[in-house]
Symmetry: D2
Subunit: 353 residues, 4 copies
C-alpha cells in the first residue's frame, strides 16, 4: 500500500436473519470498508448471502470471524439474548463492535460490555437507528438551538397491526425506538416509568402498553406502543415553551411540522387575574433530506472506529435504554406502580461484583 | 285545555354564561316545552337573553324560579362548584333537574343528589352531551351488537391549544367527556386510575395529563388530555377481538371508521408454535346523521320527565364520572400511583353518614 | 347631531331568501350603519326578519325602500334575473348599490349598471365574497410581492354533492367564485374559454364542467365545477416560476401552503443538453386570520360609500365575470369550441346601442 | 424432456435503461420462463445486467436475439421511437412481442404491428401496466358489475414536480396511463379530445395539460397532467348514477373508496317542480391486495403466449391510446380546438395503403 493511503476497514457481519441483509447491503457499498465475512448458524441463509455477494466469505463458526486479523469490526444482528456473549467475545478478540438494539436483554450485561470496551479502547455502538434518521436529527437541531424553548412534554404513538413477537413484549420490541429518540433529543434519561399494559392475544406477552416517563428536568413523556391498532401511527408531538412540533414518520413529505404556537403568560394584574394569551403563527415543514438512516448509521460507526471518537449511540446509550425497559417491565409486573430507572445503580452493583 | 292534549312542560334555565345560550336555544325550539324563565346573577347577561327571547321571564333570584309552579324542570349551567346547592334546592322544590357536567365537584354531593332525586321520584340527569352524539351512539350500537367482539383496549386523545381554566385542571375540564363516553360504551366503571401530568404554564394547574384506566373486565384505556397541543386531536381508537374502529370527531364526514382487521389465533401446533394470522379487510365509514347532540340530549331529558324513565345519563352516571375524577386527582397528588375508583364506597360512606 | 359626528349610513336589504339573512346579520352589527328596512315579496320571510330584528322596517314593496331618503345604500340578494331591474331602480333613485354575484345574467345589463353608476357617481359593488376571504387575500399579497415569480398556471376544483339549481347551470352557479378569485389574483381577464360539460341529472342543466381559460400573459387555468362529486373539494393550485402554492378552503388550519419548490433552468451545455434541476424546499402554512369574509365585504362596501373610492369588486369586476360566463356558455353550446371573452366588446356594442 | 412436461418459454429483453431492470427482475422470477438474453446498445449497462444475473447472455446486437430459436418472446423497453422497428423485426422473426407504452409514436405504425401480429398469429401486447394494478382492477370489477350504475364522468389528476422529458410532452409521457385506464374501465374509446396546455419551462415542450375527452356514450372525462405541481396527486374520481368512487394511488391503504352517494331524481310533481334528493350513505374502502402490477402483467403476457388468447392490453389497446395522443397533439397544435380520435380511420387509411 502506498504511503498516505488508508487501508480499508475489515468488517464482519454476525447474524443474517431479518435485519442482517439491510446492514450488509449498506456496509458493502460504504467507501473504505471491506466486508470480509458473514456468520450465521444456518447454512441456508449463508447460501443466500453468498449468492448475492460472491466476494464475501461465509461461515457458521464465530471463531472463524474472530480469528481473522483483517476483521477490524464486528456488526451483530442476532437474536437479542445472544447479543451479550457474541459482543463479549468480539471485544475480547480485540474487535470494535456494533450491536443491534436493544444492546442486551439485561442492563448488567450492557454495563459489562461498556466496561470491557473502555478497557480495551474499542468502539462499542448500538443500533439505535432512529437517531440517524434525518427527521429525528432535524428535531434534535431545533431543540438544541433553543427554537422550541424549554420542553414541556412529549407524546409518541408507535402502533399498527402486527407483528407479535414470540418471546418479547411490545415494550421490548417497540419502545427502544422511542426511548432512544427521547434520550437523544433531551440529553437526559428518565427518572421513573409507569406502565399500563395488557396481553390481549397471548396470555403472557403484553401487546399494548402505555408507558409514562418522568424526567428530573420536569419533562413528562408518554409512549403508546401496540401491535394491535387498526391504523399505523408513528406520531410524536413535542411541546415546548416557545414552539411545538409534530414528527410524523408515516408522512411521505411533511415529516416534521413546526408550529409557531405557544402560550404567553402575563403577570397577574392588580386584580390577581392570570392572563394567558394563545399564539398561533405560521406552520413550517422544513425540507428533510431523504437519506437512509442505516447508511448514516454505518458511516458513523466506521468513522468512530477510524477516529476513536465515541459514537452518538454508544454503549452507555444502549445501557440507558435497557435499564429503562427493565424498569418498565418492573412497573408492569408490580401492577403499574412507578418504577425508578437506575442505569447508574446498575453500574454500581456491577462495579461491586 | 281539551281532553287528550298534553300540557307543555315548563322549563327554567339557571346560568346564562358560556354554555347556557346553547341550552336555551334548544329548549326554546323543543315541541311540548315552554321555557318560562332564565336565572343568572348578572343582570347584563339576562338582558341579552331577554332581547333574544322576549317571551321569557328573567330573574337574578333562584327563589323566583323555584317558586313558580309552572316550572316543572330546572336546567342548570352554572359554575361547577354551584351545581350541588342549586340542584339540591331545585329537587327540594320538587323540580326535575338537568345539570351540566361534571354533576358536582364532589362525589359525596353527587350521591346526595342521587338519593334526594330517588326519594322524591324526580328525574336527575347530567349533561354528558357526547353520549348523545350520533357517532358515539353508533359506536355503542356496534359494541352492543358484538360487531367488535370483546373489547381489548381504548385510547383517546383530546388535545388542542387552549383554553386554560382558572380553577380546574385539564383533568376535570376535558376528561369528563371521555370518561362518560367510555362508561357508556363499556357499561362498566373503571376500577383504578393512574395519572401522569404536568402543570406547564401555571404552577398549580395541570394542563397535560395521561390518564390510564383499568377495568375489571380486563379492558385498559388511556385518555390523553391537554390544553397544550400544536394540533387539535379528538381521536379515539377502540380495539376489539373481531374488529377495530377509529372515531375521529375532527373529521367532517368519516367520523367513524370500522376496520375489519384482527388477529386470528390458532392453537399451538405439534411443535408448540403459536400461530397468529393478521386479517386486514374492508374499511367502512358508516353514514352518521348530522343531528346536534344538544338537541337529542334536551329531547331525552324532556322524555324522561314525561315518562319517569331514568335517563341514560342519570345521576349515577354523573357520580361515576366524578368519583373517577377524584381518584385521578388522588393519583396525581400521590405522584402518579394507582388510585382505586370507588363510586360505591362513596355511596356507602355517604349512606352511613 | 353634534358637529364632527358622522351620521350613520342607512342601508336597506332587498331579498331575504337563502343568503339575505347572512348579509343582514353583518350589516346589523356594522358600526356606523343603520339597517332601515328589509324588502321581500314574501310576507312570511319578512315575518322572520321582523322577529329577529324588531327595529327594522319590513316591506313587500321596493318603492317603499327607494322612497326612503334615509336609505343611502341598497343591498340586493334576490334571484339573479332580478338583479338588473332592482339595481337599475336603486341607482336611478340615487342609492348606492351592492348586488350579489353574478352581478346580472347578461353582460349588456351589467354594462348599463356600470355606466349608470358612473353617471350618477354612485358606488356599484358586486358580492364576489371570496375576494374578501383572508386566504384569498393572502395569496394576492404573495403574488403581488413577486414571491411566486411569474404565474405559469392555476387549477381549481369546486366540487361536491349538490345542490342542483333549477334554472342555472353549474357554470353560472359555481364558476363566478373562481373567476372572481382568478381575475383578482392575476389582475387580468381571460381572453378565451373552452368548456366541456355534461348534464347528468337533468337533460338541460349541465352539472359538471371543465372550464379552461387562456390569458394574454400566457397563464392557463382550469376550473373544475360539479354538483356531482363524492367528496367536497375546494382546492386551488397556483404554480409560479419561483414558488408554488396550494389553497385548500376545506382545511380548517392550513388553508394556504407555500412550497419553496421550482424548476431551475440552466443554459444548454456545450453538448446542447438542457439542464433542469428540481428544487424542493420548506413548506410554509402562513397564519391566516379567521375573519368572516362577509364582514370584510360589508365593511368595504360601507367604506366605498363613505369615501367614494371604487370598491375592489366594482361593477367592472362583475361585468368581467358575467362576460366570461357568457363566453363559457357559448363554448358549451357550440360543442366545446373555444370562445373569446369580450367584456370590452360588450361595452362597445352597448355603447353603440 | 419427459412427456407432459412443459418446456420453459424463452424470453429476451431488449432495452436495459430506466425500466428494463424492473421487467428483468420479474421475468427472472416467473415460473416456466427462462430469460435467455438481454440486449442493449450500451455495453456498460449490459455489464450491470450480467453482474446481477450471471446466467443471462448479453448482447449489443438485436440480430443475436432474433436468431436465437430458443427465444419465444421479446420484451421491448427501449426509447419510444425505436419501438416500431424493433417490434416489427421481432414479429418478422416469429417472436411474440411485449412492448412498453406507448406502443409506438405513430398510430399507423401501431396498426402495422397489429396487422403483422395477426398475420403471423403472434401475441402483441403493450405495457399498459396500470391495467394490471389491483386498485384499477377492482374499479373495473365494480363498473362491470353495475355497482356504480351508468358512468357520468371521470376526472383524473396525475401531477407532481418533475421529471421533464427531453423529447416528449407531458401528454405523451403521462396521459397514456390514464387513457389506458379509462379505455379499460369504460370499454370504449373517446370520440374527441380538447387540450389546453402550456410549455412553462421549455418553449417547445408542454409541461402542463388539461385533456378533455368526450365519449359516444355521453361520458366526459378530464385528465390533468403536469410535471409542475407542488404536490403529488394521483387521484381519479368516477361518478356513476348509483355510486361514486375515488381512486387515489398515493394512499397507502385506502386506495379505492366507494361512496354510496347519488342523486335520486323524482318525476315532476303536479306543479312541474323537479324533485332531486341527495343520498349520502356508507363509504367503503375495500381491501385491495398488494400485488405488484408488473408481476401480474408479466404473468399475463406469458399466459397469452402459452394459450394464444389475446392479452387484455393487446395491440389494439396500444393503437387506441396512440391515436388518442395524436388527436390530443392535434388539438394542442390547433390552439385547443376539438380533435376527433380516429383509431379506425387510421386503420382504414393504413388498410388502403
Amino acid at each position: 500500500m502506498p504511503d498516505g493511503a488508508v487501508a480499508p476497514l475489515g468488517v464482519a457481519l454476525v447474524g443474517y436473519g431479518y435485519w442482517g441483509p439491510n446492514l450488509l447491503r449498506n456496509y458493502m457499498e460504504l467507501p473504505g470498508v471491506t466486508v470480509r465475512s458473514v456468520c450465521d448458524r444456518r447454512p441456508e441463509v449463508l447460501q443466500k448471502a453468498q449468492t448475492r455477494y460472491p466476494s464475501v466469505t461465509v461461515t457458521v463458526d464465530l471463531a472463524d470471524v474472530l480469528a481473522d486479523d483483517d476483521v477490524d469490526a464486528v456488526v451483530i444482528a442476532t437474536p437479542v439474548r445472544t447479543h451479550f456473549p457474541i459482543a463479549m467475545a468480539a471485544l475480547e478478540a480485540g474487535k470494535h463492535v456494533f450491536v443491534e438494539k436493544p444492546i442486551t436483554d439485561d442492563s448488567l450485561h450492557a454495563r459489562r460490555l461498556v466496561d470491557l470496551a473502555a478497557d480495551r479502547s474499542l468502539v462499542l455502538m448500538v443500533g439505535h437507528t432512529f437517531v440517524f434518521s434525518p427527521p429525528v436529527r432535524r428535531v434534535k437541531e431545533l431543540i438544541d438551538a433553543g427554537e422550541l424553548g424549554d420542553i414541556y412534554f412529549v407524546t409518541t404513538q408507535r402502533v399498527n397491526l402486527g407483528l407479535h413477537q414470540k418471546d418479547v413484549s411490545v415494550i421490548w420490541d417497540l419502545a427502544p425506538h422511542d426511548l432512544s429518540i427521547l434520550y437523544y433529543w433531551l440529553d437526559e434519561t428518565a427518572e421513573s416509568v409507569t406502565v399500563m399494559s395488557r396481553a390481549c392475544i397471548r396470555a403472557d406477552i403484553p401487546d399494548v402498553a402505555f408507558i409514562n416517563l418522568r424526567f428530573a428536568s420536569g419533562v413528562v413523556a408518554e409512549i403508546q406502543a401496540s401491535w394491535l391498532s387498526p391504523v399505523k401511527l408513528r406520531r410524536t408531538i413535542v411541546v415546548g415553551s416557545k414552539k411545538m412540533l409534530v414528527y410524523d414518520d408515516t408522512e411521505s413529505v411533511e415529516k416534521v411540522k413546526i408550529y409557531d404556537h405557544g402560550v404567553d403568560f402575563k403577570d397577574p394584574t392588580d386584580f390577581g387575574e392570570f392572563q394567558l394569551s394563545y399564539r398561533t403563527g405560521d406552520i413550517v415543514a422544513p425540507k428533510i433530506p431523504g437519506i437512509e438512516p442505516l447508511w448514516l448509521e454505518a458511516q458513523h460507526f466506521i468513522e468512530s472506529v477510524r477516529t476513536g471518537d465515541p459514537p452518538v449511540t454508544d454503549g452507555w446509550a444502549g445501557l440507558r435504554v435497557v435499564a429503562s425497559l427493565e424498569a418498565a417491565q418492573d412497573s408492569l409486573v408490580r401492577g403499574g406502580t412507578q418504577a425508578i430507572i437506575t442505569p447508574d445503580l446498575a453500574a454500581l452493583s456491577e462495579g461491586a461484583a
